[in-house]
Amino acid sequence: MIDKFVHSMADAVAGIADGSTILLGGFGDVGIPTPLLDGLIAQGATDLTIVAVAGGRDGSAIERLLSLGRVRRLICSFVRPASLAGRLFQRGELEVEIIPQGTLAERMRAAGAGITGFYTPTGADTLLAEGRETREIGGRLCLLEYPLPGDVALIEAWSADRWGNVTYRDSARNLNPVMAMAAQLTIAMTRNVAALGELAPETIVTPGIFVNRVLHVPL
């Protein structure tokens, strides 16, 4: 019987190696699996690359991870200069790679979909394109972008079953389904547990084939 539920935080985050690339779902405070990040902090992995929509605000789980010196590199679409990430970067204690938000999502989607590269006009006419390969397609300058895969994705679900099928609540969907596709090991925390078959097949957003472990973390 397939049963992807794990029954402790330690089991949920077991085996995450030093040097891993972690895809971290969420946008603002919504859909971000903060308990899993705290679990990762307790688990001890370090020298991490974190991929997230932004560099984290004061009091966020990302900030806690950064403050412990566990992050080598941050890949995201913006960093507030006054945030811890912004300050660490300016002190040379953190590598930061800034990617337009749509390109960030699309690069992870490409990783999940077996697309080995793609062209986009986003950023092609900007200083983000400096020194990079461009190509004119249909009269428009485009940048060549490569997939952005993760070793681990940490995602927040609203409901999940033992096959790892997942639904999300409202705008908590955001990057979570994309990251679930793009990582070797996808760890979901879910607010609710569904019996197998309880989630209507047409309404499942992330099929369980993209999810490796599920931990129930009630609201």
Partner: protein
Amino acid sequence: MDISPLDRNGMAAWCARDIPEGWLVNLGIGIPTLVADFVPADREVIFHAENGVIGVGPAPAADAVNPFLINASTTHVTLRTGGSYVHHADSFAIARGGHLDLCVLGAFEVAENGDIANWARSADEPVKQVGGAMDLAIGARRLWVVMEHTTKDGEPRIRHRCSYPLTAKAVVRRVYTSLAVLDLEPRGFVVRAMIPGMTLEALQARTEAKLHTA
């Protein structure tokens, strides 16, 4: 006659009047976000937020906040009846794939060649804040900008060429400022409307780019 430059709400309202029913519209952070407040509730305009919300509605009552529902400014919002959710890659497929009838952004500068600069004041800024602006700017069918006509120091923002790092080239179609509405045409900026009391001469004096009349 004295002139009274429009305030943020005034600019937002001016822009809102020109958005017809049925359009799919993304509003950038800052003044553009205010535009939604000036679209009458019975005019069905569908607002898109980058975090995957289609059909963003007004702010909720204080006692009816849905903690799972925010817009791209991370402000709590409601979902309009008929709204739906998509994931981030699909949301940016909407933005980048030409499905937005309109995107309204703020900017530091707009140039007469349609260039927009709205994400960095200098190429040397150590910490970058790109967000989704570049995706929106290249992808929307129409890009309108809402911004003060000049900087606080009176420096022009309507430029011959942008001096700040570009967000995208040759994409702006219209600019709503505190003083005027300008369309971008192949010949450059064309004045569509001015606030009461403003003259073409006075407007040109506050503008680096050459202004044309229709």
